[in-house]
């Protein structure tokens, strides 16, 4: 006993696979959330009344993960709407079908796209509230000094948003890194571990293979990876005691 589980873990090929899948999943999610969130927040931060759009754009974030998972399983079905759309647009030949979730080469990507779709509202709303906190005088001063809108974005908007962006993306990264329900219910980690992340691997080891000790060892490693990032997050948010 003792550290046995850990030694075994470091020789386990699926553990490494799950680790790198988790990193890929998290990195793709955070990058796309940053781009989408920033674009949408800038669009929503107009002087016109955008309350209606703010209201509806948030919906994916409110849906239960299981509903999002089932909906996207249907969309990704070989005879589903995604393949149908690609065929209508001539992007996919009529004699071919792509099993988005059923083939090892696309399963992780498909799950990631779903997670990007579910999570973008959170990032958008956080960025938007950050944008609204920037005093308008800064832009007026910039205008007087002759700054173009592009320059104003890089020299006024981005530096002032830095704190909000960092904290939001750190939290988004942590949430993606530990994500379980979406991936588990969409693919279960398969096919052949192609979409296995650490969270699903831990669950499957504990509750399907009945090796709770081994699973906990992997959980502890996951916790240790997240710990410094969590501490950074806790420091970043301004708490007044």
């Amino acid at each position: 006993m003792g550290l046995d589980n850990y030694f075994k873990l470091f020789k386990d090929a699926i553990f490494y696979k799950a680790f790198f899948n988790t990193v890929k999943f998290t990195a793709m999610t955070v990058i796309f959330h940053f781009v989408m969130g920033m674009g949408l927040a800038l669009l929503l931060n107009q002087k016109t009344n955008t309350n209606f759009f703010r209201g509806i754009i948030i919906i994916p974030w409110l849906l239960p993960s299981i509903v999002v998972a089932m909906l996207w399983i249907l969309i990704y079905n070989p005879f589903g709407v995604l393949n149908g759309l690609l065929k209508s647009l001539g992007l996919l030949s009529n004699f071919k079908t792509i099993a988005w979730l059923g083939s090892p080469s696309t399963s992780l990507l498909s799950v990631t796209v779903t997670n990007i779709w579910k999570g973008y509202p959170f990032v958008t709303i956080m960025f938007l509230s950050g944008l609204q906190a920037i005093p308008g005088e800064l832009y007026e001063a910039g205008k007087i000094d002759g700054a173009s809108p592009v320059k104003a974005f890089f020299y006024i908007t981005l530096p002032n948003l830095r704190g909000v962006v960092l904290t939001t993306l750190v939290l988004d990264g942590i949430w993606s890194f530990r994500l379980f329900d979406l991936i588990f219910s969409m693919t279960g980690g398969g096919p052949i571990n192609s979409s296995e992340v650490m969270a699903t691997h831990i669950y499957n080891t504990a509750f399907r293979l009945f090796k709770p000790g081994y699973a906990s060892a992997e959980g502890v490693i996951m916790f240790l990876i997240l710990l410094p990032i969590s501490l950074y997050y806790a420091r970043q948010i301004r708490l007044d005691y």
Binding site: I59, L62, F122, T167, F177, F180, D181, S230, A234, I237
Partner: protein, 276 residues
């Protein structure tokens, strides 16, 4: 000049409309599929609107006693969790706002850190504790588990709100003869209604949407919650997609209705809590 400005605004709105339509297409698809017979679901080329509009799928969901029971269970569990979180959470949050004691900083930081803890790691000891307590496969077990999940964030949210209510208000009430408990009850609590509503909704949403612990702690059909019922439809031999989507729509309804009614304060309060 004003003409040009209007043009800009219009272009902005047009871009927003197109992007929202694209982003919300999956939701439209869920609704559209839920109103058609199964023969029209998996067609190539896809059919955007149902050819034969039918509510049969909703009937199939709502006449199934197991599905109905899972709705009842979800409401019961979520409401119980919300109630206890608000009651006990506001006590804790109040103490963490107004009183000074050693270890307070540590407790608050711990509450923040729990928000980043990998839940799947918790599910293993939780499972063992629940089994040892003899609570496996009971609704009470889920209520306890969800309470432990909802407390940290709820306490942080309420605390940041309580901190903004001047202590002098309570002191004034106490000079007028209130006990300290009465001062909280009649002064602080009524002022905190927006925060209580936001926290309550957050808690309800968390319990209503939760999936991982429901699979770990619940086994029998009569104790199933909505998320598990939906998931179980997937494993059936031929998936009834229309019913699956109808079920999904019904599961989203309470959440979406409440949020559109209270959208502004609530969303900002909840999301702000993650950062402030």
């Amino acid at each position: 000049m004003p003409v040009k400005k209007n043009h800009k605004k219009l272009i902005g709105l047009a871009v927003l409309t197109i992007i929202s339509a694209l982003l919300l297409f999956p939701i439209f698809w869920m609704l559209s599929v839920s109103f058609r017979p199964n023969g029209e679901v998996l067609l190539i080329p896809p059919q955007w609107l149902p050819k034969t509009f039918t509510i049969d799928a909703y009937k199939r969901v709502l006449t199934n006693p197991n599905h109905l029971r899972s709705f009842l269970n979800s409401y019961l569990i979520s409401l119980a969790v919300t109630l206890f979180t608000l009651l006990l959470g506001s006590f804790a949050a109040y103490a963490l706002t107004r009183y000074d004691f050693s270890g307070k900083k540590l407790i608050i930081n711990f509450l923040v850190i729990t928000q980043t803890f990998p839940l799947v790691l918790l599910s293993i000891p939780y499972f063992e504790v629940i089994v040892k307590l003899g609570l496996y496969d009971t609704k009470l077990a889920l209520i306890l588990v969800y309470l432990s999940l909802s407390f940290p964030f709820s306490i942080l949210m309420l605390r940041s709100y309580f901190a903004e209510i001047p202590h002098e208000l309570e002191q004034a009430a106490m000079i007028d003869g209130c006990s300290s408990f009465q001062a909280i009850l009649y002064v602080t609590m009524p002022l905190s209604v927006p925060a209580l509503i936001a926290t309550g909704l957050y808690t309800f949403l968390l319990s209503w949407n939760e999936f991982l612990f429901a699979t770990v702690v619940i086994e029998s059909i009569q104790n199933r919650v909505v998320t598990i019922s939906i998931y179980s439809l997937l494993s059936e031999f031929v998936t009834d997609w229309a019913a699956m989507m109808a079920f999904s729509v019904l599961a989203c309804l309470p959440v979406i209705i409440v949020f559109t009614l209270l959208q502004k304060q609530v969303v900002q309060e909840i999301m702000g809590g993650a950062i402030k």
